[in-house]
């Protein structure tokens, strides 16, 4: 038993940390936040060179063949740096193709994805569907030996820079749809999060050939879902870590009533609470990432625990950091708000804390017994 990063994992973390710190300084994040589509082409190229686009994908298809632990380490640093990048969306698509695709699809889509030559994003939520995740409603209507898709997918991340989408339908299947296919339209959906953009993707009689429907069926995507939850929870952990550090640094420096504010328990205990939440988030993420690699039967519960906890910590810690900063933390010129907004958006997507806690309750509560017995 050794519950810490190995030397190799430490090295991955350090590389990611240093690269992201130099690449995404405050000014660069602000440029991207103010830009039309928020996409950083140069940064993407460098990430591909570093092998991040294929980090946890099989070597056979051009990936690095590393595990979910390494992926979590990377995404914690992405969150720490608040890197605006479609890497998360592309990673999800890569995992879906790896776990649920055909060899032909992997050859056509996974290989360029792993190399960073193309980008994909999952298009899952149907516009107008309930606010808590459930079944998909878009029909896969038979059309020759393929299908045709009609409807609108929403909350699609990084759609503006995606080359293709992986579209979910009511039969539990996923379909590869090119961004520039006939009938596909992308409409930006403004959100509080300026460092990861969301869009609606309209599908108006879009034809999908049989070869572009993934062979995997509904339940086959659970392992993809649980892994992406871990990566997203890791990102939120990084957000918590960074904003906690900002609060601590400010509390040491800022003077009021003749001492640094960090000497007051109202501030110092709030900082201690931030540490607690950050470390708890990190532990649940590491535990779930380890389970994904080494003990997959415990992944579903572990992933829901990590996503639930980190969903909360990912916005509550930045929120507390704003409180420590006082007025300056409420200004646009301070970076904190970008973290708060990304953390809050992360909490909402792929099942919020309440939804994941309900999954945990399913797992830990025995089925209801005979109601006649008190």
């Amino acid at each position: 038993m050794y519950f810490d990063l190995t030397d190799e994992q430490q090295a991955i973390k350090a590389t990611a940390h240093d690269f992201l710190a130099s690449r995404f300084k405050s000014e660069r994040i602000r440029e991207l936040a103010a830009s039309e589509d928020g996409f950083d082409a140069a940064g993407w190229g460098e990430m591909a060179e570093l092998g991040w686009t294929g980090l946890a994908l099989p070597e056979e298809w051009g990936g690095q063949g590393l595990g979910i632990v390494e992926l979590a380490i990377l995404f914690e640093e992405m969150g720490y740096a608040l890197a605006p990048s479609p890497l998360f969306s592309s990673t999800i698509v890569g995992l879906a193709l790896t776990l649920c695709g055909s060899d032909d699809q992997r050859d056509r889509y996974l290989r360029p994805l792993a190399a960073g030559e193309r980008r994909g994003s999952p298009a899952l939520w149907d516009a107008g569907s309930p606010a808590s995740p459930g079944e998909f409603t878009m029909e896969a209507k038979a059309d020759g030996d393929g299908i045709v898709l009609d409807g609108v997918k929403t909350m699609v991340a990084d759609a503006a820079s995606a080359d293709f989408f992986v579209v979910a339908t009511a039969d539990g299947r996923r379909h590869l749809v090119e961004r520039d296919a006939e009938g596909v339209s992308v409409t930006a959906e403004p959100s509080i999060d300026l460092t990861r953009r969301f869009s609606s993707v309209g599908l108006d009689g879009v034809r999908v050939a049989a070869a572009d429907t993934l062979p995997g069926e509904a339940a086959d995507y659970f392992p993809v879902f649980h892994r992406l939850c871990v990566a997203l929870a890791a990102e939120s952990t990084g957000i918590a870590q960074r904003t906690m550090e900002m609060a601590v640094a400010y509390a040491k420096d800022r003077q009021q009533f003749g001492r640094p504010i960090g000497a007051y328990q109202a501030v110092s205990h709030r900082c201690a609470q931030m540490l607690l939440e950050t470390e708890n988030a990190r532990s649940t993420v590491y535990g779930a990432a380890w389970a994904a690699d080494a003990e997959p039967e415990s992944l579903p519960l572990a992933a829901s625990m990590a996503k639930a906890y980190a969903s909360d910590a990912g916005w509550r810690v930045p929120n507390a950091s704003i409180q420590v900063h006082g007025g300056i933390g409420f200004t646009w010129e301070h970076d904190l708000h970008f973290f708060l907004k990304r953390g809050r958006a992360n909490a909402a997507i792929f099942g919020d804390a309440k939804w994941h806690r309900e999954r945990v309750a399913d797992a830990v509560l025995a089925p209801a017994p005979d109601p006649a017995a008190l």
């Binding site: 808590s132 007051y264 501030v267 007025g327 646009w332």
Partner: protein, 392 residues
């Protein structure tokens, strides 16, 4: 104990209600702040013409001479009907009262009427970048030069400074005196070369606040309020009045928000019904209602007490603290209820209520900072209500 309005208070309430129903111009225009201020100036003129500007001011100064209960009724009713703010909200709530309480006859003559009409907008220059909670540590200096004071320094969180004619400025006039002494309260003309206001963009993207830079700005000596060296006392009574005056409006706003939250919960579908059917959300919504009701009743108790003693007590700090907690909790819950749609903001096709709750969530982050941080309010309660020892 009697929570009912007296016949004359009821009559007043009905008069306010009717007048607002007939005259409320409705939501503020979308677009820039300039449009909003024009709209608010018109609204203030209308209020003034009907005698609703400065309702708590004595009649001799152009006010209505209303009782505190009547004032609470007016503010509460205006918020309930979502009437806009007047243009000169700080002039009415703080500027006028401070001139009436501490000003000379000449000052009353000069300043009060244009506050009521909105011809001259007022702003407040208290906070500085290095002096947030520790207001008395402020560094802006005023030095006497003949019959003028020359002021240099920086203020921050100055609401609508860009529209203001007069700034209620607290500056240090005796640098060697202990920090609570040696402060003086000035009325500074914003229309001069030495004064510059720069909007400070907030995390909501709006710029209601400003930084104000003073570089040898000049203030004639007759613009001192309450006497040289008495600035701390004058500023504190102003802040207490501000807090007390705003309470009933804040309470009505919370009631409105709770109504919208109930509507949201009923309308948002989850898997298995609406959010309003979910026991977890129901418990939290109910708790917010209970806390809001406690806050409302606390405020009435405080009002009764203030009417007996004449001065708002430190208990008012409880209300401000509680209001921040409730408003933050309410907007946090709204985003939770919106589930996967929680990130979508104004202008998004799939956004719920066109992103109103996202704005509210972000704006309310400052509720526990602006107008006295919750930490400082707890200190005040501990020290001045409970009599616990001060740390410093």
């Amino acid at each position: 104990m009697d929570l009912t309005l007296s016949p004359s208070e009821e009559e007043f309430r009905d008069e306010v209600r009717t007048w607002l129903l007939e005259n409320n111009p409705g939501p503020e225009p979308e677009g820039g702040l300039d449009e909003v201020m024009t709209f608010r100036r018109e609204w203030q003129l209308k209020l003034h013409a009907a005698g609703w500007a400065g309702i708590s001011w004595p009649k001799e100064y152009g006010g209505r001479g209303a009782t505190m209960i009547e004032q609470a009724i007016f503010v509460g009713e205006a918020a309930r009907q979502e009437a806009p703010s007047p243009a000169n909200v700080l002039g009415l709530a703080m500027g006028g009262p401070v001139v009436i309480a501490h000003g000379t006859d000449e000052q009353k003559q000069r300043y009060l009427e244009p506050i009521l009409t909105g011809d001259e907008i007022w702003c407040q220059g208290f906070s500085e970048p290095e002096s947030g909670s520790d207001l008395a540590s402020l560094k802006t200096r005023a030095v006497k030069d003949g019959d003028e004071w020359v002021v240099s320094g920086q203020k921050v969180w100055t609401t609508f400074a860009q529209y203001a004619k007069w700034c209620m400025l607290v500056a240090r006039t005796a640098p060697d005196a202990p920090k609570h002494q040696g402060l003086t309260y000035f009325l500074m003309d914003m229309d001069q070369e030495g004064v510059e206001a720069k909007p400070l963009v907030q995390i909501t993207g709006e710029g209601e606040f400003n930084e104000v830079f003073m570089d040898e700005a000049r203030i004639p000596e007759e613009n001192v309020v309450g006497g040289v060296g008495n600035g701390w006392g004058v500023a504190i009574t102003t802040l207490m009045n501000e807090r007390a005056g705003l309470a009933f409006g804040a309470i009505s706003q919370i009631q409105n928000s709770l109504g919208r939250l109930a509507k949201l919960a009923s309308e948002v579908r989850t898997n298995g019904g609406s959010a309003a059917d979910d026991a977890y959300y129901r418990q939290r919504i109910a708790q917010l209602h209970i806390e809001a009701e406690a806050m409302r009743l606390n405020a009435y108790r405080g009002l009764t007490k203030t009417m007996q003693s004449g001065i708002p007590g430190p208990e008012g700090s409880l209300g401000k603290w509680q209001w921040a907690d409730i408003n933050q909790g309410l907007t946090e819950l709204a985003l939770e209820i919106e589930g996967v749609y929680a990130p979508l903001s104004r202008g998004a096709e799939q956004a719920i209520d066109n992103g109103a709750w996202q704005y509210g969530f972000l704006r309310s982050r400052a509720n526990s900072i602006e107008g006295g941080t919750t930490d400082i309010l707890k200190n005040i309660i501990a020290e001045r209500v409970l009599g616990l020892p001060r740390l410093r």
